[in-house]
Symmetry: C2
Subunit: 460 residues, 2 copies
Amino acid sequence: MKEEFKQYFIKILGKENAHFDQTHKIAYSYDATKKHYLPDGVLFPRNEEDISDILKFCNDRGIIVVPRGAGTGMSGGSLAVNGGLILAFEKHMNKILEIDLDNLVAVVQPGVINMHLQKEVAKYGLFYPPDPASMEHSSLGGNVSENAGGMRATKYGITKDYVLALRAVLPNGEIISAGKRTVKDVAGYNLAGILIASEGSLAVFSELTLKLAALPKFKKTAMGIFPNVKSAMNAVFKTLASGVTPASMEFLDNLSICAVETKFNIGLPINAGAILVVEVDGNIEASIDEDLKMIKHYFLEENASEFKIARDEKEAKDIWFARKNCSQSIAMYGKLKLNEDITVPRSKLPDLLEGIAEISKKYGFKIPCFGHAGDGNVHTNIMVEDKNNQEQVKKGYLAVEELFKLTIKLGGTLSGEHGIGISKASFMNLAFSDAEMNLMRNIKKAFDPNNILNPFKMGL
Amino acid sequence: MKEEFKQYFIKILGKENAHFDQTHKIAYSYDATKKHYLPDGVLFPRNEEDISDILKFCNDRGIIVVPRGAGTGMSGGSLAVNGGLILAFEKHMNKILEIDLDNLVAVVQPGVINMHLQKEVAKYGLFYPPDPASMEHSSLGGNVSENAGGMRATKYGITKDYVLALRAVLPNGEIISAGKRTVKDVAGYNLAGILIASEGSLAVFSELTLKLAALPKFKKTAMGIFPNVKSAMNAVFKTLASGVTPASMEFLDNLSICAVETKFNIGLPINAGAILVVEVDGNIEASIDEDLKMIKHYFLEENASEFKIARDEKEAKDIWFARKNCSQSIAMYGKLKLNEDITVPRSKLPDLLEGIAEISKKYGFKIPCFGHAGDGNVHTNIMVEDKNNQEQVKKGYLAVEELFKLTIKLGGTLSGEHGIGISKASFMNLAFSDAEMNLMRNIKKAFDPNNILNPFKMGL
């Protein structure tokens, strides 16, 4: 980074907000992928005008800018893989600007942590439905950039369903607003629609207007134990088609069940083919009891050997314990975990898991799977026993490629929650045609003709 | 249209699907705006390949193409205002391709009529939530192009919330697919997101994958009579913030009430400031009764002079009668109706209606309003008494402009449901900055560099 550039940023932001020392560079070189790329500097914009000034300056000089929320991304979206400046919102642009009770809307800056918003709106009996597993640490700007999902997607949808409007700065420094504080707005192109999930590559968010919902007054948890995945999934289909829509329908496969049981010894049925954990919520207790009655009916009809409803919060926590501890428990199967967040139409989940069993056999890896049965989003974990064995690691990545091919064949997507970033960029050509890739490149160019904003991510 | 061009289309489509006679041109020259523009021809593609062949040919030669669903649009989106070819889907591409019960999804061609889909999926206890007033006649391709709303938007959202995936043909003839049969898909840009609401100007839909929902088993209707709009809206805010989300919350203002009463003499309270019509639905009767109890509580707290719950379907129909007959009844106020579908954040509805009263006074027009209290979408009707009086008509359009300015000032949008097309194109600069308009033009160029697809609509 040229000295005169550094001086410009120090001049407009103050030296406390423009950093070019090694310590800052290292601190902002990583995300949850555990990959490291040193940026050329770290800037903390104080407001929208700062973002605009920075982008205009960089755009005129071809300096790369990478927006960054909390750095919890799973696909490298916020990594400066080609150098450039990190634009970080955590220091100043982390405020909840408004909680609007009449319209059930929150207006926030991009650096607000998801859980911070949840806690504030809970004071008014409200919640923000998107609940990525990272929600205690991840920022809403990052959530919108990656279009984060979560446990409640079956009933409540994902991030894009809750962004009513936003303000953003284009790479040339122009400030735009998109959408309104209304459910209905059909004037002009759906600019917010294309900015959501764009992984910080089209514009920099400066303000987000998010839809809130009333916190359900009651919630209950139940668990069913199934002989195999097919019967568990049939129970899911029947439940959802009946009009009962649980907030969550989570599953563990046999390997995941065994891993949790081995580690924690909590009495899980190690011969079960699958466990489903279900949470129902609503404002009327009798109504969710009725939901549970129907769920029980469909679960037993599909040969669940046990159906247990938690009688209190402690029992609910016990039931959730297995699901929430999958990720750490499966470490017993290998030192290197190649985990993906593929998603298939939920009807294809049994086929997917069958195919995964074949991949497991072919490559000799254990592949425990758990995740969101209600929406077909599976966390697959190819467990490579020895992470220092190059041969094994290479085979592991071949298995990943095969997994992606299987997913696409079943009408699924490379990523249900984490985004593409750099970690799945090389697989984009499996999922998209040349025409589709070219179209995405043309859209990128329409927003960012000089290619300064988080360039070359997503295989673009 | 050059003879050789005509011959090409006849060759690839057959003469029964390529028409250049005056009768066809006239038949496809109109939509619900009642404006007429003669196209140069009418083509009925039989499949996606036909669309691709047509577009490629036209793109290479600069021939304008205008996709058209059922011609029920309210803003001129399907009118060939600059000539060119109408691409009509009603003859061949009108099939429901699949109803997928496990994933609760329907796959349809763009020419399928909304109500046709509703009837088919109702056989399985399902429904497609978006319910534009035109649903008995409008096509799903048109619904997606305009991002149609409806009565149920407060609870169920609008068209864009139900499009999971689509196939489309780019102006250069390339076929793309966007989205998956899954709630979660975050691979690549949200191409479906930008295509929805693009008014046929970016690509031509060839297939739509739509999310379905289980039909609620019970629904009940109620009505509240309020002294003024402010108290009615307060009742709406309190209801929604409490977690009770009616499927519909519709309102009539005093002028609308008086018009319906004058025409039908059904005993409406002509001194009331507003009537709210509420519909609640759900699977458990006790639960919707509880909802109604809470609604009644909030309505009475906000000075409703009456709260009536329909005891059967007949009584429900009677309650809905007033709302459904607003549009025709207000004709008593003038021969020319300048109706708009502006939307403001619902908290601003009282301010909007106050501002409208001032516009009414200033210009001397009656402006009855009714619509969707739950989502802030108001059907405003500037009633010009004498449509042959040029002076009056001109004043009417000045009043429309003032209405749009007021709407924008209140954080609202030019259109909640109908789209911009040609009818609101000249007001786009009130609602969007130069930066936003330029960005939309750049997006248009990214999809359609030769500007052949429904060009110059939306003020682009």
